[in-house]
């Protein structure tokens, strides 16, 4: 039996307007996006792992649905934020600022 589905709505992914380039070689700006996106993936995986560990601590055995349904409470979110900040500090460690040029 076929049911008439309403048309799917897709949203644009890119902002209209010229994209800023900050480095002489735009490939470095492109790399920056790759690096930040990768850093986000690691953080998401960490949260998922943290969710699993917390659920296992509580219940002993869990399902995927348990993970999907889990939302951090205030304390857990605070602990995660602390972990994220330490992670950001480690990964995005700026080189020490040198003094005046030459």
């Amino acid at each position: 039996m076929t049911q008439k589905a309403e048309p799917k709505i897709t949203l644009p992914r890119d902002a209209k307007g010229k994209r800023s380039v900050f480095f002489d070689d735009p490939a470095i700006d492109q790399m920056m996006t790759f690096i930040l996106e990768l850093s986000a993936e690691v953080s998401v995986v960490y949260d998922r792992l943290d969710t699993m560990e917390r659920l296992l601590d509580d219940k002993g055995t869990i399902s995927r649905d348990d993970i999907e349904a889990y939302r951090p409470n205030e304390d857990v979110e605070a602990a995660r934020n602390e972990r994220r900040e330490a992670y950001l500090k480690r990964v995005f460690r700026m080189h020490p600022e040198p003094g005046p040029k030459d």
Partner: protein
Amino acid sequence: MASQAPHGLTVDSTHDEYALQSYVSALRMFTLQEIGGGLRGVYESRVKPSFEKNKGRAPKDEHEVRHAMMDDPYCRTWSSMMRSAQEMIWDSIIPSIERAQPDLNSKATALAKTPKGSLTLNPEVDVPRYVTASDIHLMPGNYHSERAPGDVSQGALYDRGVYVYAGGHGGPYGDSIGRSLAQHLKIRFPDFRPERILDIGCTVGHNILPFVDIYPDSEVHAIDVSAPVLRYAHGRAESLNQPMHLHQMNGEDMSFEDESFDLVLSVVTFHETSRTAMKKILSECHRVLKPGGLMIHMELPRTAEMDPFDAFYIDWDSYYNNEPFYQAFTSTDLKAAYADAGFSDEDYMEVMTPDVYSVPQEIFGAAASGPENKAERYGRLGESIHWTGWGAWKKG
């Protein structure tokens, strides 16, 4: 990131989308504050000395600071991160909205069926070029794009995006500027009891909703040029049982009667318009205000009194975050612009208030009721959040 307060049009996210949004929020804050916090040192220790060595003088304005700073690797790295992080905000939210559709549009339509407030759309309203030319804040599709009848997608994207952007610092309803302003006015002018209030450029209604709370006897109206955000604002307000009257209208040419409002306000609207539009909106504000009424616009700090480095920092978004009028606005002489619109110099007033969510009530109240009616200092974001506004009373 603290939890956003739910309402009738809240979009559900998966476990991992939620984790991603929380991270993107932390990443943007970290880039802004931790890495951005090093910019002044970079400027003082190497950019400025090197400029002085070449030119025999210090940079004279923010433009010279910007050109010099944007040659520096530290500032380039910070800027590139800020830009990518801003793009990631929208990217972290868009899939959840696509998944919520078309049900989300149906929910909005259902909420609009038996309203306590109202929604008046007018397809005749031309969306101005300052909205269509580029996507403000890099939000793909901006405020006005729609892909189906009754589409609210851009409203949902903006609602969640602003929350992720501010890391929840705007309060659970993202209303910190509006709530701070409403509380401030209530304490500072206890005898001012507006019967009709108007917000210009309301988007999803974040900052006008607190006026429904704080001035419960007033009739609250809000306008915007973009239908998707208005539909969303309507559904959101109805579901929160804080009804108001929303109109698709351009602030440059409103169809309200002369002298029909006691309070006309806007919250961070002007810097997304244009110089010509600003003049027209100010004249319209004067026209629709009743004698004795108050006009007030909450906006970005003025750069005129700042040192060139701070002005460069404040105006960075103008050049790299698709806010083309930002710099021109922050350097505009508002007192003169208000005078051109018909307000007298002696009726000019300013608001500088601490953020209502960031300080205890007694400190907030003292700032509003003190002799200066002002907080001691202001910043943009960070530990000490303050909001600034410029207004004028219309001659009674």
